[in-house]
């Protein structure tokens, strides 16, 4: 139809759609007018009234058919057909409510799982920052370190150089996470906020609803701009939505800050995993992070930043330019920047927030839920197949009275659409309920913020899934009815066994498919479980019973000398307590969020390759650190109280570093250059885990805390007492020294290990849940097929029984048929799993993706489940009454 034709026909189509009755009435009126005129004509010709009517009707042809043909000729019938199909479909579903409920439940769960995972992927990886403009052009920036280090943060001067020179970037901004104690009235609360560059709010396109964002000069000058923008939540909850808040003062880390703005509702900052509550300019950095003011130090790396590329600029182009900038910086500042590059990463690979930790889990989840969806489709198809077999009589009748095959197909697709749409609706609801689920699965969950986003893209994805599901579950039964011949089913129901067998391959195929997929999921879940067990019980190289906490001296405004005195006094007091074996401080906790300091090093007698940056991470630790954490000292001595800022510089290296830089020879007494100063090696410590449980042994060294001081290190206590009493004891001692100090959360290092491995825990929980669901679906599928086969072949079973087969034989017969299907599925599944489990890669710790024990276990579980699924049909088969069946 061309446009001109639509011009005439559209009003008609609309009318026949919206007022079908009116159109119908008029059509009837027209036909009757015709009849009447013909009758009058006939009477005029001299016929009797009765004769005239009969003759007119005859000339007309069948009135009802003509009416129907007129209706068909009218447009709008596609929609009317559809509505008719919908009504009919609903009636069909209601006719077998159990089956329909089963199918809808199945689809709801699986589409829900898909929608939830997509909403997490969207909300955590792709569009993690609500209200932030143009997230698709945002890239995270980090330093890349040649050699062992991998990724690191930037320094502020490096960032400024990057911002000045990157012409392909629209904007670049800094946003480093920090904590703060917030003094409200007489109590203090810990909150999370960001240290941001002054252009932050402009760069992300978020405008405060009250007050203003930061001004350009607020980046500059140590501690000279005590201003803060607070979050909407903080404004509502802590300041009761005070509209006069701007200009008021709030103490943050004991420094009064002027509140200059309130962020809009629904803005949570730019850190995956936490909702930010306040933002301060970088000039205030010294107040919020231990280690003092770092804005002028090119070697102090703490800057977490993003760039937004200009429209149309690819990541590769930008990376090229940024690498060139980094290369220039290397030449200009060899002392701090040798071997350091700058890399940009898409948001889902952001190195410094939870996107990177959740990423691999979510990737695996996308595959897993797709599998579960396929299983569900197979299952529902199977259920519908069984029903379509029952309905073949109805189908034949419809074909016989003139329905086209296309019309039947439309009908089947409509029924599929009803199921899929209901499932999608339910699934979206599930996804909505599950959007905060990830946080609940994480051990440190409460403080975290990892919401899924149910946005238009997720909805589009769900709609797409709905369509695919519709096609699959609609077409499979249609495929079965394509050979439907008119005569066969209309004859008496024969109930022959042969007929069942010839149609059975499709159902069997679907069951094998389901078993295959759920076997793969089982293997995946078992591998992850095994991996979690191993990683949780792996030896991190330190004692996991050690308690760790911190004291809020920065918030209490301690300067460096006061902090040093306080640390020594506290250790002395704690060491005297019963039950406490030893106590010490260290700058950074292993496996924690904070990254270790790192430094370019030089070693006597070791010539680095020209381009190689010998950058090694280190920790600043107090006396007795190794003993307290139970890290074996392989050679030499530990640090002592006497290794202070006035003494000669010393260092302890780990075993890997000894092997690498001193060729395995005892390095005691040799020299090591750290940050341009020479220190003497006094000890060798055993290797342990530093940043993650699955890292390979790497070079690492320790320096005494007083020689590279931080004001607020973590406190480690080796104790035999339970955590609660240790906490009470430490708090008491801290308060003896200073009533104003507070203790941070106290946890054991085992808890630290657990938190560091929480992505694995999430993966295990989710994959096991879905694996269980898949197993259940496969069992239901197998049960359905076996039940159906048994119900259809009662004659054959009766015959066998009449010929002397016992109940046990029949039981065995049915179960072995079920097991044959299962074995087929497991075989395919095993082959596929061998290829697919490598996808788990990053999530597996010390477990081969082809672990034979795991595969064996999965086979056992699958087989047991299959036997259980076949038991009931088998039992029914064994109860066949030959006399009754054969007579029937």
């Amino acid at each position: 139809m061309n446009l001109e034709q639509w011009f005439y026909s559209l009003p008609l189509r609309l009318r026949s759609f919206f007022h079908p009755n009116q159109a119908d009435e008029e059509m009837k009126e027209e036909l009757h007018a015709h009849l009447e005129q013909q009758i009058n004509e006939n009477i005029a010709k001299g016929m009797s009234a009765e004769e005239a009517r009969r003759s007119a009707m005859r000339a007309m042809g069948g009135l009802t058919q003509i009416e129907q043909q007129c209706r068909d000729a009218r447009g709008g019938s596609v929609l009317q057909d559809f509505i008719q199909d919908l009504r009919y479909g609903f009636r069909q579903l209601l006719r077998s409510p159990g089956l329909s409920a089963m199918a809808i439940l199945c689809l709801t769960l699986c589409i829900g799982a898909n929608a939830a995972v997509f909403s997490w992927v969207e909300g955590i990886l792709f569009r993690p920052y609500p209200l932030v403009a143009h997230q698709e052009r945002l890239f995270a920036v980090s330093a890349t370190v040649q050699g062992e280090g991998g990724l690191d943060e930037l320094s502020w001067p490096d960032f400024l150089d990057l911002r000045r020179n990157c012409t392909l970037c629209d904007d670049s901004f800094v946003t480093s996470i920090t904590g703060s104690t917030l003094n409200i009235g007489d109590h203090a609360e810990v909150t999370t906020g960001s240290i941001v560059s002054a252009n932050y709010f402009d760069a992300i396109g978020v405008h405060p609803i009250l007050g203003r964002g930061f001004e350009a000069d607020e980046d500059v000058g140590e501690g000279s701009h005590p201003v803060v923008v607070i979050s909407y939540q903080m404004w509502r909850n802590r300041f009761k939505g005070d509209r006069e808040i701007i200009g008021k003062r709030q103490r943050l880390n004991n420094v009064p800050h002027t509140i200059i703005g309130v962020a809009p509702e629904g803005f949570y900052g730019t850190f995956v995993g936490r909702a930010m509550e306040f933002w301060v300019p970088v000039s205030m950095e010294g107040i919020f992070r231990s280690g003092g003011y770092k804005l002028e130090d090119r070697g102090a790396r703490w800057v977490e930043s993003y760039v937004r590329l200009r429209p149309g600029v690819s990541r590769a182009q930008a990376q090229q330019q940024i690498s060139a900038i980094a290369a220039r910086l290397q030449k200009e500042y060899p002392v701090t920047n040798r071997g350091r590059g700058i890399g940009i990463w898409p948001l889902w690979q952001t190195p410094f927030n939870h996107a990177r930790t959740m990423g691999p889990t979510l990737e695996v989840m996308v595959v897993v839920v797709a599998f579960v969806l396929l299983i569900a489709c197979a299952n529902v198809s199977n259920l519908l197949l069984v029903r379509s077999f029952v309905r073949r009589h109805e189908m034949s009748v419809r074909l016989a009275i003139g329905a086209s095959r296309g019309r039947l197909l439309k009908q089947l697709l409509t029924e599929g659409l009803i199921l899929a749409a209901l499932g999608t609706a339910g699934g979206s609801l599930i996804a909505y309920c599950c959007r905060h689920l990830l946080v609940m699965l994480l051990p440190e969950g409460r403080a975290m913020y990892l919401p899924g986003a149910i946005d238009d893209r997720v909805m589009a994805m769900s709609a797409g899934i709905c369509l695919v599901v519709t096609l699959i579950i609609g077409l499979v039964p249609a495929f079965e009815t394509r050979h439907l011949d008119l005569a066969g089913p209309l004859k008496a129901e024969s109930g022959s066994v042969v007929g069942v067998r010839s149609r059975g391959w499709m159902r069997s195929g679907l069951v094998i498919f389901q078993v295959c997929l759920s076997f793969i999921l089982l293997v995946g879940a078992a591998l992850l479980l095994e991996s979690l067990q191993r990683i949780r019980h792996a030896n991190p190289g330190f004692s996991t019973s050690v308690a760790v906490t911190g004291v809020s001296v920065v918030a209490a405004d301690y300067d460096v000398p006061r902090a040093k005195t306080f640390q020594n006094e506290l250790i002395d007091r704690l060491s005297g307590l019963p039950g406490i074996e030893s106590a010490t401080f260290a700058a950074v906790t292993p496996l924690g969020y904070m990254s270790f300091a790192s430094s370019p090093i030089e070693v006597d007698g070791d010539q680095p390759a020209p381009n190689e940056q010998l950058e090694v991470e280190y920790n600043q630790v107090g006396p007795g650190y190794l003993a307290t954490l139970g890290i074996p000292l392989l050679s030499g001595r530990e640090f002592a109280r006497s290794d202070d800022e006035n003494a000669a510089l010393v260092a302890i290296v780990n075993r890997t570093m000894m092997m690498r830089y001193w060729g395995g020879q005892d390095p005691i007494g040799r020299r090591l250059q750290v940050k341009g100063r020479w220190a003497r090696v006094v000890g060798v410590a055993a290797d342990s885990k530093y940043e993650s449980m699955d890292e390979t042994p790497k070079s690492f060294f320790y320096v005494p805390l007083p020689q590279d001081f931080v004001r607020e290190p973590d406190l480690y206590i080796s104790t035999t007492q339970p955590l609660q009493s240790t906490l009470a004891a430490v708090l008491r001692e801290v308060h003896v020294l200073d009533q104003n100090l507070a203790l941070y959360e106290m946890i054991t290092l085992q808890e630290q290990v657990n938190r560091a491995t929480s992505p694995q825990l999430v993966a295990v929980t989710l994959v096991s849940t879905l694996g269980g669901l898949a197993l259940l679906l496969a069992a239901v599928g197998l049960y359905g097929v076996m039940s159906y086969a048994v119900a259809q072949s009662t004659r054959e079973l009766g015959l066998r029984m009449a010929l002397g087969a016992g109940a046990a034989n029949l039981l065995r017969l049915v179960i072995s048929r079920g097991l044959r299907l299962t074995t087929g599925g497991v075989l395919f599944g095993a082959v596929a799993a061998l290829a697919l489990t490598r996808l788990l890669g990053q999530l597996l710790y010390n477990v081969s993706p082809h672990d034979p024990v795991v595969f064996g276990l999965a086979v056992a579980v699958m087989t047991t489940t299959a036997i259980f699924a076949c038991l009931l049909p088998a039992w029914r088969a064994s109860r066949t009454d030959p006399a009754r069946v054969l007579r029937a």
Partner: protein, 111 residues
């Protein structure tokens, strides 16, 4: 949809268009006219023009209006649209071509 079997598909449409090109008519008049000019040869039942009329209307070739007739009865009066006129010309040309070809073949003398 069953069509008058011995009528070439589309021919009925063309005939109706032609009749309406002569003058706007209602359904009954069209069927009478059809019988009259074709002397019942076509064997079209009275009713079967209605589905065709509805189809033509939906194609935008004819237009229907309810008009009161002289004895104060409502009757649906069909008339040709400009689009329908074009279609008629097109189909007539087609018909002439095809029928000329066919009659040419039919009139071949047997050897």
């Amino acid at each position: 949809m069953s069509k008058p079997s011995d009528l070439v598909q589309g021919t009925l449409d063309m005939l109706i268009l032609k009749i309406l090109a002569l003058q706007p008519s209602n359904g009954w008049a069209i069927s009478q006219r059809l019988k009259q000019i074709s002397s019942d040869v076509l064997g079209v039942s009275d009713g079967s023009i209605y589905p065709a009329l509805h189809k033509l209307e939906h194609c935008g070739w004819i237009r229907a209006q309810w008009k009161s007739s002289e004895n104060n009865r409502r009757a649906k009066l069909y008339s040709l649209t400009p689009l329908g006129r074009k279609q008629l010309e097109h189909e007539t040309a087609n018909w002439n071509r095809v029928s000329a070809a066919i009659s040419g073949i039919v009139q071949l003398k047997e050897a």
